[in-house]
Each structure stands twice: as structure tokens, then as C-alpha cells.
Subunit: 142 residues, 2 copies
Amino acid sequence: MFSLHPQLEQDSILLGHMDLCQVRLSLDANYPWCLLIPERGAVTEIHHLSEEDRHQLMDESCRLAEVMVGLFDPKKINVAALGNMVPQLHLHHVARFEGDAAWPAPIWGRAAALAYAPEALAKRRDKLISALVGEGFTPAAN
Amino acid sequence: MFSLHPQLEQDSILLGHMDLCQVRLSLDANYPWCLLIPERGAVTEIHHLSEEDRHQLMDESCRLAEVMVGLFDPKKINVAALGNMVPQLHLHHVARFEGDAAWPAPIWGRAAALAYAPEALAKRRDKLISALVGEGFTPAAN
């Protein structure tokens, strides 16, 4: 049975569901930063997923990355499954820009998390949901 | 046409080829650390690959991760496509242990790279190649 790790719950908000994953937006305003979390019980590594789920995760990851490129026009998308501190499998997608708070380093352990202004968070959430809506994505209730 | 980025060439050695990717071993002895590099010209992002290549990359990534788990019995596998400094698409696979040089942080920008003793490098190379050999992997000439 799937239940979201409390740290992921605390650090991000739900945008909606793809067929396999929850799509969430990180609450760190330093970067446009989304998470995919396969709703598959106690899975901690990508290779623990079935072959079908692995391919589905790849499809959902690429769809999310393409949406983020379309919205934010970043220099680079960083995609990573780390999980040293939060073991539940979660796949980071971070839109990176020259001159952002950690560039060119990876973001983890660099700048302190920056809170969104409430309007900025709502705006980013709505933009992402609007761009994701369609086959294979069900937005979260507002 | 594919040609390997000089920085990747300098920082790693070739273990062999899967159907899509070069498999390489990082020369930083701090961690068992392998790279998959799709031999697809100027690709910089996973989502630039065709759907078939995306799924193949997922398959090769999981096979490599499973081999690394079998050989090294790590606490966690970190998988990441970053590429902020070296744009050519390359997928890191790092076996992580509690108490390693960066634990629990991601490895990038932490400990200075540590050179392998020549025998230790040869031994790790040979162990990885032996575990990878089989359908879908052709070892590099020694």
C-alpha cells in the first residue's frame, strides 16, 4: 500500500497524478523543481519497479521534463533519483539556469530553501497543472 | 555522429558497450561510480531520445544498477542525469554507503576526487565487466 513519506509531504505540494506517479512541486522557490513519486508501496530504487512500471516512469519523466522546458526555457533539466535521506523512491526534475542559486553545481546541499510568496506559488502551480492537463494526467483538487 | 566529450574521456575508463550506451567507470575511487552514455550524437537531455531509446536507456540503467547492487551491496544507488558542466547526456550510477566520503549528501562538489591504486582500478574494472558480460553487453578490449 502506498503512503507518501512525511518529508516529501512537507517539502512539496501535489499537482496531480499520472498513471504511475504523483506529480509534486517542491516548495523551494530557488528553482522550478518537480518530483515524480511512483505510487508503489515501499519501493526505494528504480530497478525495484516492474519492467512495465520502469518504462511508464520513463514516459512520465520525459513528459514532465518537456512541460518544464516549455514553461521555463531552462539551460538544463537535472533528473535524479537520490534518496539517501528519504528512502521512498522519488525522481527530482529541476529546471536549471546559469546564475541560479547553485549553478553549475547540483542543487542539493547548496542554497538554503527559499519560501515562495503565496501568489507566486499559486501561479507556478496553476501554470504547471495547465501545461500537464490532458491524457494521462489528472489534476489535484484545488 | 557520436564522439565522447573529452571531460568524460578523462574522468572515466571504458568498460564496454550495451546496445545503446557506453558503460564507463569513474576514476574517482571514493565511490563505485559508473556512467552510461548513449551513443547518440549531440543529445543533452533524456527526453531528446526517441521513445525506443528512452526505454532502452531505462533497461540498461536498471541492469547496471542491479549489477552494482550485486557486487557492492550498497545502502543506496544514486542515479542522476545532471550535465550542467558536461552537456553530453550521461547518466551517473553511484553506489552509496553510510560513512562514504559524502554521505548522506549527493557526491557532486563534496570530497576531492581520489585516484585509484592501479591494481584496485584493474580489479574493480574486471569485477564489473565479469558481472556485466552476457546478452546486451560487449566488454571493451583490454
